[in-house]
Point group: C2
Chain length 511, copies 2
């Protein structure tokens, strides 16, 4: 039994299809759980190796064109299958790709509850006067704020902004609630919709005018506590991407130019979409320092232990429905969605394969028992009972929907007391490239790679790179400086300025 | 032990304070759980008996004035403690009165998941053209729609409405998704914010311009299925009010005049706020019939089992943060909030009562052990460790916050191996009144009663009652016709028209 099971696992890893025992007891269900875990791990490893492996060498023009065309097809799928559901407002929604409990309840909400973050809800609207309290912050958001100016047939006395983010909505309350060091730390989180009126091309889940996110806002007595929380939250975001969505990410710090408007510093996790050759910011964790809490802005002060007045140290951190877009683009391909088992609302689809002479009812019964057994083991399984579609049609249908595992049951299977387990195959190319010189950098950028390069850490150089790479597909910029720094040999030069390099940073075109 | 425990329970029921054993083991914790259950039940029974009991007879002018003044004080508290936190936008939020998991996750979401309702999220905005598709519906909402007309510095080409409810947002998708009877029933639910620009006085949680709610939208092949679901959902709403919030409600059907704009019929649960003498709609469950699905509106059709085209039958149903407002107003009084144990985020507060000669550390340790023991039993308990407030100050503080049970531990308690359990006392007056004639009706209305009266069921009479009772405090209207009808003797006349009565209905001023 054990050897048989190991063979099945191996078969599913390499051949994508295997015969396994008919599911009637929990032992076999447990095996399926392990197979699903295996799929989850493989999906992550595959995505990771694509990022870590080196560039594919093409030796002829034809091969190059073929490669490029392959990529275009993939983008083609994404546009066709997802964008057609987009509304003119830039938010998309498909009934089948539901959020799933994992999105907030199963992991993140529990984790932050442990950290004693309280669930809150704050208003959608903010007046212009409050929005403009912190100048750097408002400058970053004002161009994309949506304004309510009318109610019914009447014009409003004061126009109201729809929150693009809630710092300015929440901090007036912090100012009232926080008096004494005993009131600290104060930690709140809300799940809500925000609106940013993007004028560039909106893209569902990646860059949409309305999006749904979690935003946490915290206040501390000391910088040390704030610093520690920034990293603690960043680690949760890494886990969401890597452990749930099977998307490998890089943790790091944003450059001064790319940090959040009004922040002291911004940490982020960054991912990379191989087929479009663009980096993407996955989630951010900001330390706002004492900027918003300053007396002239939101005046969030407390009496410290020495009975002196002090401003609080603040953080804010967020991840959004963009997680879903990144997952779709990293794993999906020409054939449709590929969902990691941990987040798939349907983990196993069971398909009856009737044959004209066979006892159809018996096959349907076997399917029902299989589903029941799998569900008992906590596996999200279902049977496709529709009698007006062929099994072949159903295979394609569920493959397009990204269900990680398919079980087929036909008359022969019944005779042999077995089922056929099938796992859709996926393949992708590698995409991280190290560039040490400007020429290498430009070449890698042309090949749509994610670029790791030594940098002198000067903002002027960063701006210059943006300027020099401007074009139809957008300028290249720093994505982040990874915490996990490769060794830098003495005398290493900046790829762009030729000055002495100070750090390795990731660069690329970005969403 | 058992007798001692029963005595404690009795003591807490009648005297509001009792000495109980120091909590060190789970047996005693289990007793506390029962005490909390008892508080929950009593709170409901008290509210219920207030509704069911008859009018209080006052024999002198002084007594009358005293009664009225008492009520005014209560309203005074509500305004002072809650309204001062209200923003100018009409939504209020206090950090301590958090929503709690019960609000969606613990009960309702699980129940509707059983009913195979899917979690969804739809956009915030809807264009004027789509909003106006169904004329009756838009007429009901258009005067209170908030409009986005600008983004950044630019005017929008088309003004966008912020959803006042999402029928018009969701049904275009239903039209695309539903093709065949196999696609039915289709059931979705979203938790979201909606905006209705009330021009009359907003009141936090009761009538606010932005509010957070759950809205379910379902489509069926037959009227029978839709009818059954309307009642199934209504029963869930009753459970939320009665079993979680300890607020007694009446299930019934709205009159044609008061039904939802665009509905075939509306069922609702109604409650009554004794101290303001107003009825309040607690939640609604609408059958929309085939109105929205008609070809000329949203065109939601399917091929039925006989391969003929048919329009779907639809329902929509919602409850909102108003539940919280109703709970606060029904149980709260001059001394502050009164929270039913099931929904209190803090069920037990433990307060150390140090005395100058006593060993303070020992008392704090006993408090910590007590909290730990209670928490182990699943009771939401906490200790107030603040050293800069007196025990007396803390008693008032937590009583105002509505914590159902307080435990005090002082040096004497330690010596006797006991703690003191205290339960804040609450009292309220009765408020349902039966009126058979116009004079009785007017008198009861003046006494701020909830009125049950025989009615001829004619819309003209209903409008006439509204007209005749118009005044500073608002006109009286039908609240609902209860499913649970009292016996009606032959020849009973309508209280307003004198014609033969057809049914008993609830009437009153309403929020």
């Amino acid at each position: 039994m054990l050897i048989g099971y190991k063979l099945q696992l191996l078969a599913l890893r390499y051949d994508n299809s295997a015969k396994v025992h008919l599911l009637k007891d929990s032992t076999v269900s447990e095996q399926f759980k392990e197979i699903l875990d295996d799929i989850q791990t493989n999906l992550f490893e595959a995505a990771k190796s694509r990022q870590e492996a080196c560039i594919r060498i093409v030796t002829s023009w034809d091969e190059y064109v073929e490669q490029v065309n392959k990529k275009k097809k993939v983008i083609g799928w994404w546009r066709k299958k997802v964008v057609r559901k987009e509304t003119r407002l830039g938010i998309s929604h498909g009934k089948d790709e539901d959020f799933g409990k994992w999105y907030s309840e199963e992991f993140f909400d529990k984790e932050i509850e442990e950290m004693e973050v309280e669930k809150c809800m704050f208003p959608l609207f903010v007046t212009s006067a409050v929005l403009q309290k912190e100048k750097t912050h408002v400058a970053g958001f004002e161009p994309e704020v949506a304004w309510v100016t009318k109610a019914g047939k009447s014009d409003l006395d004061v126009d109201l902004a729809i929150r693009p983010t809630s710092e300015t909505v929440i901090y007036p309350y912090f100012s009232k609630w926080i008096r004494n060091h005993h009131d600290l730390p104060m930690k709140v989180n809300q799940w809500c919709n925000v609106v940013r009126w993007e004028f560039s091309n909106p893209m569902p889940f990646i860059r949409s005018r309305e999006f749904y996110w979690q935003e946490g806002h915290t206040a501390f007595a000391t910088k040390e506590e704030a610093d520690a929380e920034v990293l603690e939250i960043l680690e949760l975001y890494r886990q969401i991407y890597e452990e749930f969505l099977a998307v490998p990410v890089i943790k790091g710090k944003k450059s001064e130019l790319e940090k959040f408007a009004g922040a002291l510093y911004t940490c982020s996790i960054e991912s990379f979409i191989p087929n479009t050759g663009r980096g993407i910011q996955g989630a951010t964790s900001h330390c706002l320092g004492q900027n918003f809490s300053a007396k002239e802005f939101f005046d969030i002060t407390f009496q410290n232990e020495k009975e002196k007045k002090d401003s609080v140290w603040q953080n804010s951190w967020a991840y959004s429905t963009r997680t879903i877009g990144v997952m779709v683009m990293v794993h999906g391909d020409d054939k449709g969605l590929v969902l990691p088992p941990k987040v798939a609302s349907q983990q196993v689809i069971v398909i009856p394969v009737p044959y004209r002479d066979a006892n159809t009812q018996e096959i349907f019964d076997a399917c029902a028992v299989t589903v029941k057994t799998l569900r008992k083991a906590g596996i999200r399984a279902n049977v496709d009972k529709r009698d007006y579609h062929t099994p072949g049609w159903k295979y394609s249908y569920w493959e397009m929907k990204g269900v990680p595992l398919r079980i087929e049951i036909g008359p022969k299977d019944l005779t042999n007391n077995q089922v056929r387990a099938v796992r859709p195959k996926q393949r992708r190319d590698a995409c991280i490239q190290i560039a040490r010189t400007w020429d290498e950098f430009v070449e890698a950028l042309g090949q749509k790679k994610l670029i790791l390069a030594p940098w002198c850490d000067e903002e002027e150089v960063e701006k210059d790179v943006k300027e020099r790479t401007k074009g139809d597909t957008g300028a290249a910029k720093t994505l982040c400086t990874p915490f996990d720094q490769p060794e830098m040999h003495e005398g290493t030069k900046c790829f762009a300025s030729g000055k002495l390099a100070k750090k390795w940073s990731y660069w690329g075109r970005s969403y």
